[in-house]
Symmetry: C2
Subunit: 197 residues, 2 copies
DNA sequence: TCTAACTTACCTACTAGTAGGTAGAGGGTC
DNA sequence: GACCCTCTACCTACTAGTAGGTAAGTTAGA
């Protein structure tokens, strides 16, 4: 009943999602086709339709899995007993890892293509951003409470600034193939929003 | 010999660029077709190919015109005899105007699709970002010189943080249809990077 | 023997792009 | 003023290739 596959095998379904995820993160949802995935996996397009009836369902599964994994990573950061500032650094490092794989954030990419996406995917993308902003807000509240952070305005708006700022830093740094560029922007962004040094 | 059209008419070429520009900014370069533009203009696809041999050439013209217009707006800000802080506010307002038209920055959108674009377009996108970062860097240097801004690190990195931050704020705010969200992020971003209040 | 996981063989719609033709404006020439 | 020429800006009609999607049949394992 859970999302576990029937057998113990690696699972074609997961391999489809892995390939499609990489294609969306590098080329966009409108920049890849069922034929691309099928060719790479070594099966036919028709077999893809067995696992995912349409591109829309594939997209839903993609965003769902990505959001789930991202949440797990946020939980892992929370479990690390880090101070608020270290939590934000760990959060930015998640984005840096995406860039190192020559990818854009899945939901950042889909945000660009938002107008062309099926309704279910749109909703899921907003939920991804909401989840992230909520988490960042909580960290900023924590930082304000323990006085390690100083800022004017709401923690909610500050969280939105960090979220958008990191997505944008990723968007711009990727064409340059420049991780240092991203890291410099991320560091200054977070320092600025949370009250530096 | 110059790019002026032969007669005094409004120009089909410009109308094609207007329509294609809006489609790229809302749906992406891979999210529209020659047929879309042709239908909206009321001419045939073949006529489009008369004005722009291929989608690649249309894309080149699009980025070229956009970059040119953006540069004109930066020059207009420079001509306004504003203080450095007001210049950055005016710069952010350019982005807000884009969002009010329910659009993404043309080059921000194309940055997402970067991997799928023809080489000439790729180069032009990097040049757009470089131009913007250079301009922002000059404003930050000016602000540091007149002591209206205080920041650690290079003005170049600070400029990159603002550029990426604004692109990302646009990217995330657009699905929410929320200009206030963008403006809150832009204000906090710039305040943070340039040393608030 | 049932079923999950495929296959072949197709379909319709759409993609960018091309070949070749035409209406009409403008100009020069006798 | 009739004739011709050239040019711009379109047109109809087509191509090859790709998009997402489907119906029906095959295979392999519990």
């Amino acid at each position: 009943m859970a999302s576990t596959t029937t057998s113990a095998e690696i699972g074609t379904r997961e391999r489809i999602l892995d390939i499609a995820e990489r294609l969306v993160q590098t080329r966009g949802f409108n920049g890849f086709s069922y034929a691309d995935v099928a060719a790479e996996l070594g099966i036919t397009k028709a077999s893809l339709h067995y696992h995912f009836p349409g591109k829309s369902e594939l997209g839903d599964a993609l965003v769902g899995r990505y959001t789930e994994r991202f949440s797990e990573q946020l939980a892992r950061i929370d479990a690390g007993a880090l101070n608020p500032r270290a939590k934000l650094a760990a959060y930015a490092a998640l984005y840096a890892d995406v860039l190192r794989a020559d990818r854009m954030c899945l939901c950042g990419m889909l945000a660009a293509e938002y107008e062309t996406l099926p309704p279910a995917m749109r909703d899921a993308i907003l939920r991804f951003f909401d989840d992230n902003q909520d988490w960042l807000e909580a960290v900023m509240e924590e930082g304000r409470a323990d006085r390690s952070m100083r800022f004017e305005g709401t923690a909610h708006d500050g969280a939105g600034t960090i979220l958008g700022g990191l997505e944008g830093a990723l968007l711009v740094a990727r064409p340059y193939h420049d991780v240092a560029r991203f890291e410099a922007a991320a560091t200054r962004l977070i320092a600025g929003v949370t009250g530096a040094g």
